[in-house]
Symmetry: C2
Subunit: 360 residues, 2 copies
Amino acid sequence: MRDSNLRLVLATVLAAEEPPSRAAVAATTGLTRSTVSRLADELVTGGLLDELDRSPAPGRGRPGTPLVAGSGVAALGMQVNPGFLAARVVDLRGRVLSEDLVPGDLSGSDPVEVLRRLGLMARTVERAAPASTRLVGRGLAVPGLVAARHGRLLSAPNLGWADVPIRRLLPRGLGGSALTVANEAELAARTVAAAAPGRPGPYTDFFYVSGEVGVGGAIVLDGRVFGGRYGWAGEVGHITVDTDGPPCSCGSRGCLEQYAGLRALRQDVERAGWALGVALAAVVNLLDIPTIVLGGHLAHAADALRPGVLREMEQRVLSSPWRPPDVRVADEDPAAGATGAAYQVFDQVLDAPASLVPQR
Amino acid sequence: MRDSNLRLVLATVLAAEEPPSRAAVAATTGLTRSTVSRLADELVTGGLLDELDRSPAPGRGRPGTPLVAGSGVAALGMQVNPGFLAARVVDLRGRVLSEDLVPGDLSGSDPVEVLRRLGLMARTVERAAPASTRLVGRGLAVPGLVAARHGRLLSAPNLGWADVPIRRLLPRGLGGSALTVANEAELAARTVAAAAPGRPGPYTDFFYVSGEVGVGGAIVLDGRVFGGRYGWAGEVGHITVDTDGPPCSCGSRGCLEQYAGLRALRQDVERAGWALGVALAAVVNLLDIPTIVLGGHLAHAADALRPGVLREMEQRVLSSPWRPPDVRVADEDPAAGATGAAYQVFDQVLDAPASLVPQR
DNA sequence: GGTATTTGTTGTATGGCTAAACATAATGGG
DNA sequence: CCCATTATGTTTAGCCATACAACAAATACC
């Protein structure tokens, strides 16, 4: 019960637009001021919350002490992409404390060498963060199918990688069971679902389509990413658009990626929009979430894609007369996956804050 | 906290294969025997649980009192299908206490007249149930898109119905805000997900494909139906299989229903299997649940459909090398939707058992 | 400067839990 | 047949986190 309310208070503070006082938290949670006060104090001493200076009083009465996410808590987020390597330290308020991004064509690269380089970048970035920050975990975003339990990358066609034991290839301390590995689209979607760790973004239910050379996707329901049984959900890139279409690297034919992947898109935006519309209609028919958010190279081409996408979706989505589809664009951030990887680490902390709070 | 543990004890008893004793519930939940004893007593006096006679002792020690779902608690489940009307009273143990099923072609029928007849059937069936049963709610399964909040059927092409205010057309006492209306596939899927109210069925994560003249579907994750934002999820029947395919009643072209609907299936099972495989590959790519359960007319043709379905899915599902797709068949029950409607009512009760238990 | 108002803290009471002791009902061995 | 053994279910005492109420602190309004 204490654990449950500890989570509740922490979540309420992080979800708020403006730093709330203890009394405001009590009002929104339904707990009493005394209970919130006690729990908030524990969270402050645990470093998960910070007290800001009393703001200039907005009205009568004693002004409250604004509470915000603790700036001393941080996580490392890394990303391997066909076009770059990235590493970031992000704090619990969502601020990037330090980062490094190295462009370079990694298709057909050697996993051992690339992960060694990523390890060096990570170490440098961690050192660059303020000495007082406590790193609570590390995450990595990769463009492919992952076995999350074992931290293994099963298949990443656009890197030319297959069955890579990521945890073992990263330097000790970085890898190991403490590292969470996940799909890039899934993690990038987190940065749309959350404006900062624990704070809801502009949409709570949407399908994120990630254009990172290939085409990936992620399902967000009620603000949370739905990863599926094994974390492989959202693979929109290999939905069949035309059963007689061009062969795909996955072994099938006519996959969306063959129309809306970076190379295909450059050749014919019209066709890419049509194919996206057909595939996304299936998504909306299945999931009943009319909001689509485009990321990566698809975000750049959004204005050219939108008419075709909407036309096909309006025709093919059964519920479109009652709930018209809506195509939005994600904020520009080349390494959104890295930030998302850090957010995922924070989610584990927010689920069990008691572990970071002094007992009793 | 009491509410939470009340739910926990009730759920544990209902989920068990064999009627558990208080001590067994304590062991599986982690609560103490004394706590379970108190909560179980409350549930028994509330009628949600029954005590069975002490079974012949299986070993040494004092034999426990077996607990089962209360037989006095029941719900009415109704179903409108293109081929029949059905009404059932189902108790909390999942037994059908009374039922009525009237075949008849309802395509192009008059909603007002049909719902009047269904009302009469429901009344008769309710009277036929033992006088001691307490009816805790009523549910209705319909083959179409529903606005659950308002109990309105927005569109049911295979009945030829559109925008039918179901709650208002059913006789007072039956309709009204107490009636829950939902899609047939969603409710039939509940009878696969649960062997009895609260007891898990053979699969916990699967996609249910309902063949009831048209083709519907439902997503089941971790034993619970995922209805989507507005309850419209799972509409697999209108996923595009061939963008140049035959026109569909929904206004699009090449929808799965045009290949695997009852009429099309009778003409060419081969083609239906191919189309199902293409559409279900999209489902699995998106949702990462490799188990497919076929119901209705698709269940009857399952053996003929399976080879084609599996062939297409294995080619088109990205994760199939690691997790091969699996096509199963639902148990035969023409009015599974009616039972599922009753189960849905029970779920509301199981979520808030305190409302049926005497206070304090 | 006094009063009203709101925040945060400090004591007290309470509800539901755990833990331990006890009563109950069976088995099995001498 | 009687008694030790074993397991279930109930009773009792103690405890923890919460609600409730009273109070101290800090501001605005008159």
